[in-house]
């Protein structure tokens, strides 16, 4: 069981890296994917979906070793969600490459974004270990308050054993930051049960209350329970998570353990990238007239070979002369990760994709890859 969970854990890590992997350099990709590929490959599409959830909602979990795999992963998703949600809640624009439309912003009093995705995540919690893992150390569990039905079923927790666990998991950390924080330590399922019971009085409030989004934070053992310091701590942790993500993005920063130095590296990297762009742009200006438009088909293959080394060469559509629609809907490869949907490969709506991309999808995709595509092919942010 443990080993199985280990596999799942790794797989979940790898899946969370789906979200991340789309925008990271090769080094990160190759270092993380290979051992996990077969495991993740062994997961069906639907379980993949649920693992997405699991990863996404498992934040700040520590304790058991395999659970600790999760720890870095949700931050990826969080980053992605963060990348998505900056735009003042305008979902239609949140379809960039890193977008997780609707992925909730885990932010205090932050009304942007919706909580739908995280609610669905809770619904899919299946790993008991993960839940239990939160208890021993009384770690902060950031669980945005949910008001949807999944929450209710979660709260009731009497549907199935799975839901039971979810209810425990949901209720346990669901302390309202604005109410007086509890310092009660979560020492196991028992305390969880107690929490659940205790929370019942508050439950209705916490259910209704989260029309706004705020974070339920549990005070750590021996730390200040002042709501201010809690919020501050949450903020600091979020910032560190982002820093960690950046650390993964910037090559060669794995050993760095200092915020200032890390920022230095980021600065250098950004500058170097910008210089490269400048340089390449100037070169481009020089050779410009010789570039012909047939290039881009060759180009995409070239890029693929270059970066991924994958044999799955995706041919492009015949030409690039279609009117370029700058709408967000033209961006297909979003790691939308809306796994609550059935991850079969949906028939791509014409309205969503340009024709070329449609060709792209239809070409060179075996059934096995459809799943991933289904997961990532969600464009319309109506979720």
């Amino acid at each position: 069981m443990t080993s199985e969970n280990d596999d799942m854990g790794l797989a979940m890590s790898s899946i969370s890296m789906f979200n991340k992997s789309s925008n990271t350099s090769d080094s990160f990709f190759s270092s993380c994917w290979d051992p996990i590929v077969s495991q993740s490959g062994s997961l069906g599409g639907s379980s993949m979906a649920s693992h997405y959830h699991l990863v996404m909602e498992n934040q700040g979990i520590s304790g058991t070793s395999h659970v600790s795999h999760y720890q870095s992963d949700p931050s990826f998703v969080e980053l992605v969600s963060k990348l998505t949600g900056f735009d003042g809640g305008n979902l239609s624009q949140m379809v960039g490459p890193f977008s997780l439309p609707q992925c909730n912003q885990v932010a205090n009093g932050n009304e942007r974004g919706s909580t739908n995705s995280l609610r669905f995540l809770d619904e899919h919690r299946i790993s008991k270990e993960a839940l239990v893992g939160t208890s021993p150390n009384g770690k902060i569990r950031k669980c945005a308050p949910e008001s949807g039905s999944p929450l209710r079923s979660c709260k009731n927790g009497d549907e199935e054993p799975v839901m039971d666990l979810s209810s425990e998991g949901c209720d346990g950390p669901r302390e309202q930051a604005r109410k007086k924080p509890e310092t009660e330590q979560n020492t196991g399922a028992n305390s969880r049960g107690k929490q659940a019971v205790k929370q019942d009085k508050d439950s209705s409030q916490s259910e209704e209350a989260p029309k706004e989004n705020y974070i339920h934070v549990r005070a750590r053992r021996g730390q200040a329970t002042n709501s201010h310091s809690l919020a501050e701590r949450v903020r600091r942790e979020k910032i560190s998570e982002r820093m960690r993500l950046l650390q993964e993005l910037v090559p060669g920063c794995n050993k760095i353990t200092g915020k200032a130095v890390m920022l230095d590296e980021i600065i250098n990297y950004v500058q170097s990238l910008q210089q490269q762009v400048e340089f390449l742009s100037m070169k481009l200006a020089t050779v410009n007239p010789e570039i012909n438009l047939d290039l881009d088909r060759i180009l995409s293959k070239d890029i693929l070979h270059q970066r991924s080394g994958s044999a799955a060469v995706l041919g492009l559509g015949p030409g690039s002369n279609s009117p370029y629609g700058f709408s967000p809907s033209t961006f297909p490869g979003t790691i939308s990760g809306i796994p609550n949907k059935n991850p079969q490969f949906p028939p791509l709506p014409q309205t969503v994709l340009e024709n070329e991309l449609l060709n792209l999808f239809q070409m060179g995709f075996s059934g096995s890859t459809m799943d991933g595509f289904g997961l990532n092919g969600q464009l319309k942010p109506e979720m």
């Binding site: 590929v37 977008s99 820093m243 096995s368």
Partner: protein
């Protein structure tokens, strides 16, 4: 159970990259074709070349902004580019959305103190470190388009935006390099 789905985990990233590349080039290549060169290929008119450079640079940046919808920086970049075009702003050699050309020099590079910090120098107080970080964050705000906006004042948001910006820059560099390699 598909055990040999080694391609599978690569797919999303590849897809995304391809999509970005395609979107990017979809915009860029036609625009570049429109730019063209002056009639005389022997032209040594540096002014014209500079103009072309600027235009190409503009298109390169615009392609980036349009290929990465949904970020604060991409919006800011697009906005800035359009403004610059409208104002016919001429900035130095190549028209760059970067705020100042001398950015390479303005960054205070203090690696030694940072190393000390890594070694656990007890003299380094928390406040100093925080100030250093702030300094760097401020500098990063200058680097990222739209970094001076109020949204970027929030550290979290700034770091998120940086993440996406770095990723997109990487993609852009990759695409541009590929285009040039094929020539």
């Amino acid at each position: 159970m598909k055990e040999q789905r080694r391609v599978y985990p690569m797919e999303p990233r590849t897809i995304m990259q391809t999509s970005f590349a395609k979107t990017y080039l979809n915009y860029l290549l036609p625009e570049l074709a429109n730019i063209g060169k002056p009639a005389s290929s022997l032209s040594v008119d540096r002014y014209v070349d500079k103009e072309i450079e600027k235009t190409v640079r503009y298109e390169v940046d615009m392609a980036l902004a349009l290929s990465a919808q949904g970020f604060a920086w991409s919006h800011a970049l697009e906005h800035k580019l359009r403004l610059n075009v409208n104002n016919n702003n001429q900035v130095g050699k190549s028209q760059s959305y970067l705020s100042h050309d001398g950015y390479r020099n303005t960054m205070p590079v203090n690696h030694e103190p940072a190393t000390e910090k890594l070694e656990g120098n007890p003299k380094r107080s928390g406040t100093e470190a925080a100030a250093e970080e702030e300094e760097r964050l401020t500098y990063l705000r200058k680097l990222i388009p739209g970094g001076s906006g109020e949204m970027m004042l929030d550290d979290e948001i700034l770091l998120s935006e940086l993440g996406s910006y770095v990723s997109c820059l990487e993609l852009q560099v990759n695409v541009l390099r590929s285009v040039l390699q094929l020539n």
